[in-house]
Symmetry: C2
Subunit: 386 residues, 2 copies
């Protein structure tokens, strides 16, 4: 494979001139043309490894996530990618699989490869250690939570207010015993969301009794079991908030198995996904601005890459409440339709359309991208968040 010396020889210039042509140094247009022609002729591709060694920095950015199967991350990845590509950086995805050890390996790779930067969704608050990267000047931005090991740029969704808003919504719909299925106590996300849930209960005009909280494992099965146990109580809840989409799926299955059907029992969930609009009735969710988080993280990275010494920032992005049939009690008290099982339960607020013709496409291929591309033709409700 040709290198710059070969090109230089063919173009009858020095290697430095070839390098300048490649990297935008000042070269007479005549020589530059000769270089380009020679490079083309020889099929020359600059060797990034050598360049990286010399420059002590590559132009590849690592995005380390904990679960590639989670739609949140796919949207996040697009946000990172779109911003990075605009700055001529490539993004590689590393799937740490929620395993601190695997994550450490990828952090090692990022370090040893002198990557341009790392966007990381830390597998663990305590164990994730990014100091080695920082010591070597590799910018690191954390998403969702920040590692204990260092104070760094962080981008998070405003989960607490999201949980608060959706809980308020359930209470406002007239549900009286709203329960929460949340994740393990060790998960800060689970705790933050729970906090918002509890705050909404404390604030009501009439003080309410302490709401039921079930701790599960962020998985479908856990959601199923938690919901089942809640329904077995002497005073079962009449609505439930699941703090992630998998547990919501489990909760829906549990309800279904007992012949209960939202919004008879109200259901809402954290995390808007592909199937949120696909199930009948469609599921009320708190949408996390995954794409925007990715964008913001990449932007912070680029900023810090340019000016390493600015103060670490903490960005908190608002969530959005997507109110759908699963939590609209009003729809449930209407007469049951005859045509199809859920023909009216799909009715949703305002200008939103039923899950049929158009919207699901947006969801499937990444609704969040729509924002970036201006393809979001549906009138947007104002954010339910303050």
């Amino acid at each position: 494979m040709a290198n710059i010396y070969d090109v230089a020889k063919a173009a009858e210039v020095s290697p430095a001139t070839v390098s300048r042509v490649l990297n935008g140094g000042s070269v007479s247009s005549e020589r530059a043309a000769r270089v380009r022609a020679a490079a083309e002729e020889l099929g020359f591709r600059p060797n990034r490894v050598a360049r990286g060694l010399r420059r002590q920095r590559s132009d590849v950015l690592a995005l380390i996530i904990s679960d590639i199967e989670n739609p949140f991350f796919t949207a996040l990845a697009r946000g990172v990618e779109d911003v990075a590509r605009a700055s001529n950086l490539s993004v590689v995805l590393c799937n740490a699989d929620d395993d601190p050890e695997k994550e450490a390996e990828y952090l090692d790779v990022a370090l040893a490869e002198h990557m341009a930067g790392v966007v990381i969704f830390p597998a663990s608050h305590a164990e994730t250690d990014v100091t080695a990267l920082l010591d070597r000047g590799v910018p690191v931005v954390a998403v969702d939570r920040s590692p204990e090991s260092a104070t760094i740029d962080t981008v998070t969704a405003d989960d607490e207010n999201g949980a608060y808003a959706v809980t308020r919504h359930l209470l406002d719909e007239g549900y009286r015993r709203v329960a929460c299925i949340t994740g393990p106590r060790a998960s800060s996300a689970a705790m933050v969301r729970l906090r918002g849930f509890l705050r909404a209960h404390r604030e009501g005009e009439a003080p309410r009794r302490r709401p039921r909280v079930a701790y599960a494992d962020f998985r479908v099965r856990g959601g199923y079991q938690a919901m089942s146990e809640l329904l077995d109580l002497a005073e079962p809840p009449d609505a439930v908030l699941a703090t992630n989409n998998l547990m919501a799926a489990g909760a829906l299955a549990a309800l279904h198995d007992r012949g209960l059907r939202p919004p008879e029992v109200g259901v809402a969930a954290f995390g808007d996904t592909f199937w949120s609009q696909l199930v009948r009735p469609a599921l009320t969710t708190v949408r996390q601005p995954a794409y925007e988080i990715g964008q913001a993280a990449a932007e912070l990275l680029l900023k810090r890459r340019h000016t390493p010494d600015i103060e670490p920032q903490r960005l908190v992005l608002p969530t959005r409440l997507e109110i759908r049939g699963s939590s609209r009690r009003t729809a449930a008290t209407e007469p049951t339709p005859t045509a199809g099982p859920a023909a009216s339960a799909d009715a949703v607020v305002g200008a939103e359309q039923p899950a049929g013709p158009g919207q699901p496409t947006g969801q499937a291929t990444g609704q969040v991208r729509a924002t970036g591309r201006g393809r979001l033709t549906r009138p947007r409700r104002p954010d339910a968040m303050t």
Copy 2:
């Protein structure tokens, strides 16, 4: 950051000795211990960029996929990863987004970074060009289809027989006008699946009339429109096969909007996903062995890495038919249940359980991994494929 010279000095040996300790050369155990201690002390991390430059090869493997949001790829990625990690290779994911240009960029990166190998799901049969990689000795394995530009190792699912089997199943269930919603004519996957569909029709005891085929775009919206048009025909189909999961979602929505409900109209789809078991009734699918494909691809890559000159291989892996409520006409002719809209439509074949407690978890976290880990406790039906 410390380099081997620093370590060598601290350990009072030569840099070559340090290198040998790192890479398993012969070093006296006493010196080796000194080197290790010094390396530990200095927090030394070998610089992979320099190593890559010297060795002309990295130990990172690229997986270039066309759509990170497609569950097929997430499972595929796990398969690649698990095999690669066993050989101490890291895997980075590159999301080419079905864009040949983006794909070319990532191929470029893989080339310029001297990656250990590339597993690629080619965005285009015609445009994807991997010759540059091959010329430089970077092994490339194609998944699903092989690029026109070269004959290389390829791993595919047996889509034609999968389509054949599921179509047979629909016919055997007694559906008489089975239509197919397939992808664009330019997509070889769409054409191969269609071929299986048509073959099943030709083979029946009684020759059947030529079945309806709708060409759509592999997206939800396209599936919706195609289904709508099929239903508008004078003789609408009583069953439909969608050749990917997104179009299936669209088709389901279209049926729903007309008050039709599977299995009244039979529905089956290519691609088993998270929500296949979540919808009611659960969706009959042709499961593609994504994880296994990933494994096989990585294994081919490793093999070729070691022995570059073996003949290119073509592996074809069997699909599996997952029969669920959406295509079981017998269930549909039973009296409509009173408790909940879908209480009985969930009944599924054999030992398979309803979508509640356990199975969805397996799905959500990657059913295919279960196979690898031996966690698949449910009795397996024999493969419907021959």
